[in-house]
């Protein structure tokens, strides 16, 4: 554990290895691209428009707000672009332009800059913005209603809404493998669980996301959904369905592990992730919303400072 070689430090001058905050954000953007491309392949050009507008408007708001508040220009760190991309991934492919621009404004101003900029935000900005605009204009987030005029080669109804309204029988015709690949309607970047997993594994392998949060999130969701399903399979769908439907995997790999709104130590990370999965299932099964991921993540963001109190004891004694 205490590797002596790791503690050796040569004398100055030092050379920066080049790894910094921007690298982290750009890599997360790269990791999200497979899911975005799958979304564009499912929904077509309208999805491309939403994603492009979301990223560019988020960068625009960041530039404008930092200028107006006379703060350093942080556009180059890629955080605003990442927030814009994640927000766009949550939206339906037919989201109108003003909804996208309003959403990114909320994400950058209320989600991030109001708390002092990068690293100060207590909530994931993209998630907070989604929650605010969804409550404000809920009809624009009704996936079923928004995608009425797009022809799909697979059953075109929101599986989580169908489950909540009509029960597990309504989704029995759906093939879980198809849902995982991306044959479902939903948010642009959330339809293909497989592409999200590819991006998530890349982030974990490169060390940009610690495995504890996504894995604990999935485990928490899986166990909770499993218990509900065992208790009453006629009312509650199985855990694998909940894993591949809705925002679950996007939440586990991209939304929950956001830098400043998630814990830093191992046990808090495990608790944080597990509570996210648990809350998601509670909202889905006994709450009012068909998909609980967004609100579950806001709740675990809220308890993050408390979880961070669980930390190793400091060495030495206070005088």
């Amino acid at each position: 554990m205490n590797n002596a070689k790791k503690l050796l430090v040569s004398h100055a001058p030092f050379w920066h290895i080049g790894s910094a905050v921007p690298e982290r954000h750009y890599n997360t953007i790269i990791a999200a691209l497979p899911a975005v491309l799958m979304g564009i392949s499912v929904f077509g050009v309208p999805a491309l428009a939403v994603i492009c507008l979301s990223v560019s408007s988020a960068v625009g708001w960041e530039l404008l707000i930092t200028r107006l508040s006379k703060r350093p220009n942080t556009v180059g760190d890629g955080n605003a672009a990442l927030i814009g991309l994640l927000f766009g991934m949550l939206l339906p492919a037919t989201a109108t332009w003003w909804l996208v621009i309003t959403g990114t404004f909320v994400a950058i101003l209320i989600g991030k800059q109001i708390f002092g900029g990068i690293g100060g935000n207590p909530f994931n900005p993209a998630v907070l913005a989604y929650a605010i605009v969804r409550i404000s204009w809920k009809n624009y987030f009704d996936i079923d209603a928004q995608l009425l005029n797009i022809d799909f080669a697979f059953p075109a109804f929101n599986p989580l809404v169908a489950l909540k309204a009509f029960g597990p029988d309504a989704i029995s015709q759906l093939n879980l493998g198809d849902l995982l690949i991306g044959h479902q309607i939903g948010g642009i970047g959330a339809v293909s669980g497989l592409a999200i997993i590819v991006g998530g594994v890349y982030l974990i392998a490169r060390g940009f996301v610690r495995w504890e949060i996504p894995l604990a999130f999935i485990a928490g969701l899986f166990i909770t959904a499993g218990i509900f399903h065992i208790v009453d399979p006629s009312r509650y769908a199985g855990p694998i369905f909940h894993l591949v439907a809705g925002y679950t995997l996007l939440g586990a790999f991209f939304l929950a592990p956001e830098d400043s709104s998630s814990p830093v130590n191992a046990i808090p990370m495990l608790l944080y992730g597990a509570m996210g999965g648990l809350m998601t299932m509670l909202i889905r099964n006994i709450g009012a919303y068909p998909d609980g991921v967004i609100y579950a993540i806001l709740v675990i963001n809220l308890i993050n400072p408390l979880l961070d109190k669980i930390r190793p004891k400091a060495l030495g004694k206070a005088a």
Partner: protein, 149 residues
């Protein structure tokens, strides 16, 4: 470490994405199909998602237009949206409120009153589903088989 190079790259990419977004929004809006694919009825008892394509094409039940859209004066006409005649109608729409608004001879109209839209839908949907014995059936406990609150 945020260099000027990073900033310039973000500016350049963002401007390009903005141009792509404007072009896509302006030139490629989602077209409204001539024949509906799916319809969403917003009702007081919750929304109802109706898969028109599934009912009307060979992908699904291959019903003829006239199985649901009725004939007019005994002749088949181009199907129109149900809401055009069945009230409540779109506000300000210049459409007949009764068959007798257009037909002068009351004797040629069997039932001049136009059925309320919800009654027409219930009659149509439930009648057909019961006839085929498939999907949601009638019954006061079965509202939530179609309506999503």
């Amino acid at each position: 470490m945020i260099s000027k190079k990073h900033r310039l790259i973000v500016y350049a990419v963002s401007v390009q994405l903005l141009v792509v977004a404007i072009v896509c929004y302006a030139a490629f809006p989602v077209p409204t199909p001539e024949e509906p694919i799916r319809l969403m009825y917003q009702t007081n008892a919750g929304k109802v998602l109706f898969d028109h394509q599934m009912h009307a094409t060979v992908k699904g039940y291959a019903l003829a237009c006239t199985d649901c859209h009725h004939l007019h004066g005994g002749e088949e006409i181009e199907p129109v949206s149900c809401g055009v005649c069945h009230p409540p109608r779109p506000q300000g729409a210049q459409i007949p409120e009764s068959c007798l608004d257009c037909h002068a001879d009351a004797a040629e109209i069997e039932k001049p009153d136009i059925m309320k839209r919800s009654d027409a839908f219930h009659k149509q949907c439930i009648g057909c589903h019961e006839e085929f014995g498939k999907g949601p059936q009638s019954g006061s406990n079965n509202c939530s088989k179609c309506h999503v609150l």
